[in-house]
C-alpha cells in the first residue's frame, strides 16, 4: 500500500493495484483459516477497537475474528454500552480510545462520513465498517474477493446490483469497487431508489430487471433499508417483489454460471425467494467466510504489514 493510505474510509481510497494487493494477501490468510490453529502472531501487542454505533452481528464478529487471528487485542465497544448515550462526542470518544492505546478503530456508524470525522481526531488507523448510506468498503472487498475466486477475474463481468441503491452503503462501495476493477456494473431499482447523480458511481442505471437478468454474471441483491426511508418510496413490498425480486421464475432464467450474492441479512420473500437463497448459485456463505480473510488482510496491510512478507 502507498504510505499515504492510512485509513480505509471509502473504497476509492484504494487504487486498482491496492485492491489487488488486499485480495492477494487475503488469499494467503484464507489458508490460515483452514488450519487447526487459526492464528498468527503478526499483530501481537497491538489493539484493535471495534466501535459500533449500530447493531451488527455479522460485521462485528467478522472483524473481531480477523483481528484475533492476527493476535491483536480486540475491544468491542457498542453504542448501547458506551458513553455515546451520555452525550460524548465522536471527537472525545476518539481521544479517549487513543489515550487508552487503540492502534486501529473499526467504526460502524449511522451517519455518512463519521469515519472521515473520526480520522481527523485520531492517529489510529480508521477502518470504515459501514457509515450511514455512504460506504461499506470492506464489504466491497470481500465481495470482490468472492467473485474473483469464483470466476478467476473481475474484468468484464456483468454485475447487477438490485434493490434499494439509494440507501445502501454496500451498493456504493460495490459499484465503485467493481467498476474500478474492470467489471461492468448495473444498478437496477425502482426510480425512487436510485439516487440522483448515480452515474457518479461509474455504473449503468436500469429500472427494469427482466431484460438484463439473463446477461448478468452476478446477481447482487440488497434488502430494503426501511430504517433509512424518510418517506414512502414504494407502494408495497409486493410490488417490489413482483418487479425486482429474485423469484423462482427468475432464478431459472439466470445464466448457467451466474451467481447470486447478498450482503445479509436476507429478507426471504421480499428481495429473494427461499429456494433462490438456498440454491447452488448463491455465494452468500462464501461471502461471509471471505470476510474474515479479507479483513485480516486489510488490518494487516493498514497496520504496516507488507504484502510480500511471509504472513503465515
Amino acid at each position: 500500500m502507498r504510505p499515504e493510505v492510512k485509513h480505509l474510509l471509502s473504497i476509492t481510497d484504494l487504487g486498482r493495484d491496492e485492491i489487488e494487493e488486499v485480495l492477494h494477501t487475503a488469499a494467503s490468510f484464507e489458508a490460515i483459516g483452514e488450519r487447526e490453529i487459526k492464528k498468527v502472531p503478526t499483530l501481537r501487542g497491538r489493539t484493535v477497537v471495534n466501535l459500533f454505533y449500530e447493531n451488527s452481528t455479522r460485521t462485528r464478529v467478522s472483524f473481531e475474528i480477523a483481528a484475533k487471528r492476527l493476535s491483536a487485542d480486540v475491544i468491542n465497544v457498542s453504542s448501547s454500552a458506551s458513553s455515546v448515550e451520555k452525550g460524548e462526542s465522536l471527537r472525545d470518544t476518539a481521544k479517549t480510545l487513543r489515550a487508552l492505546g487503540a492502534d486501529a478503530i473499526v467504526l460502524r456508524h449511522p451517519a455518512s462520513g463519521a469515519p472521515a470525522l473520526l480520522a481527523r481526531f485520531t492517529d489510529a488507523v480508521v477502518i470504515n465498517a459501514g457509515d450511514g448510506s455512504h460506504e461499506h468498503p470492506t464489504q466491497a472487498l470481500l465481495d470482490m474477493y468472492t467473485v474473483q475466486k469464483h470466476f478467476g477475474s473481475l474484468e468484464g463481468l456483468r454485475i447487477g446490483i438490485i434493490g434499494d441503491i439509494a440507501h445502501s452503503r454496500v451498493a456504493r462501495s460495490g459499484a465503485l469497487g467493481f467498476s474500478r476493477m474492470g467489471a461492468r456494473v448495473f444498478v437496477i431499482a425502482p426510480p425512487t431508489m436510485i439516487p440522483v447523480g448515480v452515474r457518479a458511481f461509474g455504473c449503468t442505471e436500469l429500472t427494469e430487471l427482466d431484460p438484463v437478468l439473463g446477461q448478468l454474471d452476478v446477481v447482487y441483491l440488497l434488502r430494503l433499508q426501511r430504517e433509512r426511508h424518510r418517506e414512502p418510496l414504494l407502494p408495497s413490498e409486493h410490488e417490489f417483489w413482483a418487479t425486482y425480486g429474485l423469484t423462482r421464475e427468475r432464478l431459472v432464467r439466470l445464466k448457467d454460471d451466474a451467481v447470486v450474492m447478498h450482503p445479509g441479512p436476507m429478507n426471504r420473500g421480499v428481495e429473494i425467494d427461499w429456494d433462490a437463497a438456498e440454491s447452488s448459485a448463491t455465494l452468500v456463505e462464501a461471502q461471509v467466510s471471505a470476510g474474515v480473510a479479507v479483513r485480516m488482510a486489510l488490518i494487516y496491510l493498514l497496520m504496516g504489514g507488507q504484502a510480500t512478507a511471509e504472513v503465515a
Binding site: R91, G113, H134, V196, G197, V198, A200
Partner: protein, 429 residues
C-alpha cells in the same frame, strides 16, 4: 474633524469614481474635493466607499450567546467594513414582538460599532401559523420594516399571502427563506456529490417551487418580496422574469454560494453545511450571470455563527450555517471583480447602496457627499491575505474559507464620523 486623503472614492449612489479627499466633521461628510487641508488620514491606494450594509446576519442574541452576541457580531461586522446589519429573528426568544426588537436595536446602539436593524418574524414564535405583531414592531424604536421567518420558509401560501398583504400598509418587505417545506429533509445539494457521499439530497427544485409560489403571491398582493440567499439557476430565472413583469421583487446572494460548490462537502466537514446548500457549478455560474445581468440586487452574508462543539460533528447532526462578515469583501473582489464579472462600482452597489435601499435606511449606502452621514469604509483592494479561522473577530470560527487566499481587506470603518475600525483593528476610542 479629519480628512480622508488621496483615496479613490467609489460611490455608486452619486456615480463618482475618482481620487478625492473627504472631509468629515462630527457625524457628517462636510466636503469632498481635491487637496483638502486639515488633519489627514492617508488613504492613498485605498478605496473609499459607503459603508457596507448586510441584509442578513444572525447575531444569536438573545438566547445563543455562546455562538455570537450583538457585541461580538458588531465587531465582526465592523471588521468586514459594515456600518449596518440586519439580524434575523431566529433568536430565543425570537424577534417576533416589539420588546425583543427594541432590545436588539438598543443593544446595537450601546455597542455602537454598527447600526443594528433587527428583522422581525413573519409569524408568532416563527411557528408558521399566525402573523406576528408586525405593526407593533414597525412602531417600535427599531422601526422594523423587514420581516422573515428565516431559517425556515413561510410554510404555506395562505400565510405568505396574508403577510404580504399586511406589510404593504407600511411598505414593508417579506424576506423569504425559499425552500419547499416538504423537500427540506436533506443534508446537501442533491446531485453527483450527494449520490457518492450517501447524504440525503436537497433538490434545487425545492427553492424554485417556493420562489415561484411567492412570486405569484407578490403579483396578487402588489407587496414587496425579497428572496434571501438565492442559490439556484431556476430561481434566478424566475426572479428575472418577475422583475421584467414589474413585480416588486428583489434578491440577495451570499459570498459562499458564489465561491463554493457541493464538491467542498466531499470532506464531510460540517463547516460546509448550510441552508440552502452549496450547489453545483451550473448553479454557481447562473448566480454569477444573474449578478452580471442585474437580476441579483445585493450581497448578503447570512453570517450564521455556531460554536465549535456544534459544528465538530457528524455531518447529519451538525447545524447549518457559516460565518461570513469578515470575508465578504475579499470573496466579492476575488470572485466577482477580479474575473471581470462586475465592476468595482457595482460591487460597492451590491454591498452597500442596493441593500440600504431594500432596508430603507437613508443614513446608509451613501452618497459620499456633504450633508450626508459619514458611514464609510476604506479598504485596500490589493492586499492579499489568507483566512485564518482562529483569527476571526466573531465568537465563532465556522468559516468555509479557512486557508483560502482572498484579495481585498478593510483598513478603516467609519460610523457617523467615528472610527469603528482603524488600521484593521477595532477602535476602542
Amino acid at each position: 474633524m479629519f480628512v480622508l486623503k488621496g483615496g479613490r472614492v467609489v460611490d455608486p449612489a452619486s456615480g463618482v469614481d475618482r481620487q478625492l479627499d473627504v472631509r468629515i466633521d462630527g457625524d457628517q461628510v462636510v466636503e469632498v474635493g481635491s487637496s483638502l487641508d486639515g488633519k489627514g488620514v492617508d488613504c492613498r491606494g485605498a478605496i473609499v466607499a459607503p459603508g457596507f450594509v448586510d441584509l442578513h446576519v444572525h447575531f444569536r442574541e438573545p438566547g445563543g450567546e455562546d455562538a455570537e452576541t450583538i457585541e461580538s457580531g458588531s465587531r465582526a461586522a465592523a471588521m468586514g467594513g459594515y456600518t449596518a446589519v440586519c439580524p434575523m429573528p431566529n433568536t430565543d426568544p425570537p424577534q417576533d414582538n416589539a420588546a425583543v426588537v427594541d432590545y436588539v436595536w438598543r443593544r446595537g446602539r450601546e455597542v455602537g460599532l454598527v447600526d443594528v436593524y433587527p428583522t422581525g418574524a413573519v409569524s408568532a414564535g416563527r411557528r408558521g401559523e399566525a402573523l406576528a405583531p408586525m405593526r407593533e414592531m414597525y412602531n417600535s424604536v427599531a422601526r422594523v420594516r423587514m420581516f422573515s421567518d428565516d431559517g425556515d420558509p413561510v410554510p404555506t401560501a395562505r400565510l405568505m399571502r396574508r403577510a404580504l398583504e399586511y406589510v404593504s400598509a407600511i411598505d414593508g418587505v417579506i424576506i423569504e427563506h425559499a425552500e419547499d417545506p416538504s423537500l427540506r429533509d436533506g443534508q446537501m445539494h442533491e446531485g453527483d456529490v450527494s449520490a457518492v457521499l450517501g447524504l440525503a439530497g436537497l433538490p434545487a427544485a425545492s427553492e424554485e417551487i417556493c420562489v415561484v409560489r411567492d412570486i405569484a403571491l407578490a403579483r396578487m398582493t402588489g407587496a414587496r418580496l425579497h428572496i434571501a440567499h438565492i442559490s439556484t439557476a431556476e430561481a434566478v430565472d424566475a426572479v428575472r422574469r418577475a422583475k421584467a413583469e414589474g413585480i416588486r421583487i428583489t434578491c440577495e446572494v451570499t459570498p459562499h454560494h458564489l465561491a463554493l460548490t457541493d464538491e467542498a462537502v466531499r470532506t464531510f466537514d460540517a463547516n460546509f453545511k448550510v441552508a440552502p446548500p452549496l450547489r453545483s457549478q451550473r448553479h454557481v455560474d447562473a448566480l454569477k450571470e444573474g449578478i452580471a445581468n442585474g437580476t441579483i440586487d445585493a450581497i448578503a452574508t447570512d453570517h450564521a455563527p455556531h460554536p465549535a462543539h456544534a459544528k465538530d460533528k457528524e455531518f447529519d447532526y451538525a447545524p447549518c450555517g457559516m460565518v461570513g462578515l469578515e470575508t465578504a469583501l475579499g470573496v466579492v473582489l476575488t470572485e466577482l471583480v477580479d474575473p471581470g464579472i462586475i465592476t468595482l462600482e457595482r460591487a460597492m452597489d451590491m454591498l452597500s447602496v442596493a441593500p440600504a435601499t431594500i432596508l430603507g435606511a437613508p443614513d446608509h449606502g451613501g452618497p459620499v457627499a456633504p450633508g450626508h452621514p459619514a458611514n464609510l469604509v476604506v479598504f485596500d483592494p490589493e492586499e492579499t491575505w489568507t483566512v485564518d479561522a482562529m483569527a476571526l473577530t466573531s465568537r465563532s470560527r465556522n468559516t468555509p474559507f479557512s486557508g483560502r487566499k482572498l484579495r481585498g481587506r478593510v483598513i478603516h470603518t467609519i460610523l457617523r464620523g467615528e472610527f469603528s475600525v482603524r488600521d484593521g483593528e477595532i477602535d476602542h476610542g
